[in-house]
């Protein structure tokens, strides 16, 4: 469904948010370890996120990644958009060049429903809402026990 890099991005951002709530600014090495993603690749992804200003970073000793205080809610949609574009929310599930209500493919009616549901989820859910669940112990960031 989502690209690997997008999944890493979301997990990384959730970890950063959790740490920020503890008053800490994690670095690449720590983040990569905790979200179980390759270190160098995580660095690339975090770079992309900061370049697009979904995240802030501080260089030098004592630096790390953190959320700007102004940006309180970061939707999954924004992350997906930056990491892989939003084509998957518009494309035809049957592979036609465009998705079109007037000239539908035979999957259109059914497919549209699930595509739109997924769209609603990623518009509504945010790094903060996901992090809340983990903080409350309702969900996990990684599988402790297989």
């Amino acid at each position: 469904m989502l690209a690997k890099s997008t999944e890493y991005a979301i997990r990384a951002l959730v970890y950063v948010q959790l740490k920020n709530w503890e008053g800490k600014r994690p670095g690449v090495v720590e983040i990569a370890r905790e979200i179980e993603a390759p270190e160098a690749f995580s660095a690339k992804i975090l770079q992309t996120l900061t370049r697009h200003q979904l995240l802030d970073s501080a260089k030098g000793r004592g630096g790390g990644f953190f959320f700007n205080d102004e940006q309180t809610e970061l939707s999954l949609y924004k992350i997906i958009h930056v990491m892989e574009g939003d084509g998957c929310f518009h494309r035809c599930g049957f592979g036609l060049k465009s998705c079109n209500n007037e000239n539908p493919c035979p999957l259109h009616e059914q497919y549209k429903v699930v595509r739109d549901s997924f769209y609603d989820i990623v518009r509504k859910e945010t790094i903060q809402s996901l992090s809340e669940k983990i903080k409350k112990g309702e969900a996990v960031l990684k599988r402790s026990i297989t």
Copy 2:
């Protein structure tokens, strides 16, 4: 969502079904042209489908592709399974190594719903049900007008 090759496969099979209903057995060249897919690649895909017996073929002059009369309904699920496996119906949308009700990721509850809806669709819809819609003029196999 689906791999390109899976989309080609579904479109190809729908075209074969429509032609079969007219008493004809289309060949690779014709199929590829009509579903707007690369010829050589379509050949590979049709080969895969016949090897897994989702489709029959006849070699030699006057040959082509057709459905065995015994097999009256072919679900999209079976095609997906053959073309790319069914991992996407089980995987965690958040990227965890497994999807697990007891130890859910923060997206689990919402994601499961859309994943299962899609699963239901591809279990229920068949090459025949899709072809019916096209035959009745309720849907199209390719975009005639942009």
